[in-house]
Structure formats: C-alpha cells, structure tokens
C-alpha cells in the first residue's frame, strides 16, 4: 500500500517534471531560444544521476586518462603538456568556454581538439592524434573538465565573426535527401518527439560526452555527423572548416550556458 502510494507520488512528480519542461518559444531564425535549456533538462532521472555522480559517470574515466596524458612526455621535444602549462586546474580553467578560437598564425578558427593537436605537432614535435582516438578525447575531456560549471563565453573577436555567421547559415540551410535543417528540429521542434525520443534545443554544452547509444565517449563533431547522417546529408569530415564554423555558431548560440563536460546523453 505504502509502496503503491510512493509509486504514485513518483509518477505525479515525473509528470510534473515533464510538463514543467520548457516549451519551444517562437524566435527569430538563427537566434537562440528564449529559455535556453541543455539536453540535460530532457533526460530521465536515472541518466541525470549518472552524469552528476563523478564516480558513476563513465566520461570521468576519459577525464582521468587525460589527466595522466597531461603529465606524460610526448614527441621528440620530450615535453609534456604540464611542462608548458603547469597545473591544468589553474591554467586550463575557463579555456574550453572560449573555443573555437581564432588562430592568428593559421588564419582560421580551431576547435579544442585542433588546438590540442597544434600543441602536439608544434611544441611537442609529436604526431597529431586522430579524431575520436582515445587519447584526443581524453585530453579534450580533461581540458574541458577544468571549465565545468563555467558559462560558455565565445571571444568577442571580429575575426571569428564571419565563421560564426557561416555556421549560422549552415544551421539554417536545409540539407540531405530528407531536406531538413538543424533549425527545423532544434528550434522548431525542441520538446517534441522523434520516434519517441525527445528533441532538445541542440546545445553543445557537454562535449566530449559519454553517449549511452555509442557506449563510448565522443566529440561534438561526431554528434553533428550523426545528425547529418540522420537527414541523409554527407557528413563533414572530422575537423573540416564547415564543421568548425558550425561549432563556433553553436557555442555562440549557447553562450552563457554552463559547461557540463563530461555530459552523459542517451
């Protein structure tokens, strides 16, 4: 009897939570939604609990790997990240909130993975790490973890602006055989269901994430490739300029939202 009452109470709470979710608010095309909500807001209670518990969150294994790599010498220069940057808890705090950032020497924006690889090739004289490799995800997760809870703060850099605009144009453009745009799903249909799965506002707040469907950690680029494959569009190669522009736009769109790395997603 008591168990049943408790179950009913839980059900009522769950219903409340569901109805309390943000409704998609009408907005100008390409402008961020009025009430910005991370994908976390749509997750089941159990999934949130996994993300919130550093001991249960499988993404934290990647962060720990990254911590070890940070201190390990690599390449012919014989340097570790720590040799130049010291204690990541101090030197890397807030860094992930400002990426992608414009690289003056290369004349284009780099995302966090590319920045890490630039340090590897130029300073450590080590081979670049492959996209989605365990080590690149680990270092990225470790660096981004140092910004956990800090608001996304894209740099007010005029050189970045055309890239953000190009990313916005891509976000608004229909693509693929199914001819759908990112905006149609993540602005127009956030909070509705695609085959029973809630569509969220599509904010890049938790990357690299541990995705239950992948049973693995993955980058934002991988997530974007999934969405493109879903509409039967040609996914951008990892790290392609268009994909980095899209990242820059998504970070601009999510500005002010706290970073959750490593987030867990269904």
């Amino acid at each position: 009897m008591k168990a049943r009452a408790a179950a009913l109470a839980r059900l009522a709470l769950a219903t409340l939570l569901v109805t309390a979710l943000p409704r998609a608010v009408s907005q100008a095309p390409g402008e961020p939604p009025a009430g910005k909500q991370s994908g976390y807001a749509w997750m089941a209670r159990e999934t949130r609990a996994i993300q919130d518990d550093a001991l249960a969150n499988p993404g934290m294994l990647s962060v720990l790997d990254g911590e070890a790599l940070w201190a390990r010498k690599a390449g012919t220069a014989g340097l570790a990240c720590a040799d130049c940057h010291g204690d990541a808890r101090l030197s890397m705090k807030g860094v992930a909130t400002r990426f992608p950032a414009f690289d003056a020497r290369l004349g284009r924006p780099l995302n966090l993975e590319q920045r890490i690889n630039a340090c590897r090739t130029e300073r450590q004289a080590a081979p670049a790490l492959r996209y989605e490799s365990r080590d690149l995800l680990a270092l990225t997760a470790y660096v981004a973890r140092q910004s956990h809870g800090l608001p996304i703060a894209p740099p007010a850099d005029a050189r970045l602006r055309p890239h953000v605009e190009a990313g916005r144009a891509e976000y608004l453009r229909r693509q693929g055989q199914l001819n759908l745009s990112c905006a149609q799903c993540h602005d127009g249909l956030a909070d509705r269901k695609l085959v029973g799965n809630p569509i969220t506002q599509g904010h890049p707040t938790g990357y690299p994430i541990y995705r239950l469907e992948w049973q693995a950690v993955g980058s934002l680029q991988r997530r974007l490739r999934n969405c493109m494959a879903g509409v039967r569009a040609e996914p951008h190669p990892y790290g392609a300029a268009e994909a980095v522009n899209l990242e820059a736009y998504l970070m601009w769109r999510a500005r002010g939202m706290p970073l959750e790395t490593p987030a867990v997603r269904p």
Binding site: L178, N179, L180, G196, P235
Partner: protein, 146 residues
C-alpha cells in the same frame, strides 16, 4: 569466363536501370491525378513501407492506427483517416513533393531529386521512395478511412 560475362551482364543491367528515367507527373491544383508510371499500388506492401523505419520513415514523425508500434512520432498529423481527408490524387502530391504546398514543411518530398543540398553519396539522385513504392503507400493510405 562465365563469371566475367555474368558480371558484365549485371553491370549492363545496373546501368540500364540507372539510365531509366523516373516516371514524370503532372500537377493539377493540389493533386497529381494519374498514378506515377501508370503503376497500380498494393495496400499490403504499402503498409509494410509505412511501418518500416528505414524505408518509409513515416513513424519517425507521424503516429497512426498501428497499436503494435510502440514508438511513434509526434511531429506530424496522425495518419488515421488520411484516406477520408484526402483524395488519391491529393495524397500523391503530398507524398511526391509536399514542399510545393508548404515551402516550410517538415514532410520530405519523397519523389524529388533536385534542388537538394549536400545529399549523402549513397542517396544522391535517388528519390526517398520509388514510383512503385509511392503508389503502394498511397493504396494503403486510401484504406485509412476512419
């Protein structure tokens, strides 16, 4: 030798099939009156296409009178009663090129291969469904009377 000639025959068949143009159609008002390629649809096959999440994709967005299907979309009108709301010709245009009726629609143009951007290589120059599949789906939708 035998193997080489069958491969050649298969290649030839493939290129013949590829060269065959998809049947055209004429839009009148908000409908396409004539079946695509003069084909006659089969409602049973059409039902299978509508339920198949990789072929028809309909239930990604729509729900319908399919109590056995657990996960259905809530992005589009329920397919229940589609055959009562619309004529066969109206359903045909809605399948073939819904964007012609509503440029902002979410409903994919199932028979359109032009004016698309960055289509993945595996799907390039191919409609989502063939003329025959579309006629099957229409035959099935026409059975959804209430």
């Amino acid at each position: 030798m035998l193997r080489a000639s069958t491969t050649a025959a298969m290649l030839l068949c493939a290129s013949l099939a590829a060269a065959q143009p998809a049947p055209g159609y004429t839009v009148t008002g908000d409908a396409i009156a004539e079946p695509l390629g003069g084909l006659r649809g089969d409602a049973q096959r059409g039902r299978a296409i509508v339920l198949d999440r990789r072929t028809g994709l309909c239930l990604l967005c729509h729900s319908g009178p399919f109590p056995e299907e657990r996960f259905q979309g809530d992005l589009a009108p329920d397919l229940k009663g589609a055959g009562a709301r619309w004529s066969e010709g109206q359903l045909r245009l809605r399948m073939v090129d819904s964007a012609r009726l509503n440029p902002n629609t979410l409903m994919p143009s199932y028979y359109r291969t032009t004016d698309l951007t960055r289509v993945a290589a595996a799907f390039r120059d191919k409609p989502v469904l063939s003329a025959a599949q579309i006629e099957d789906v229409i035959a099935f939708l026409m059975t959804l009377k209430d």
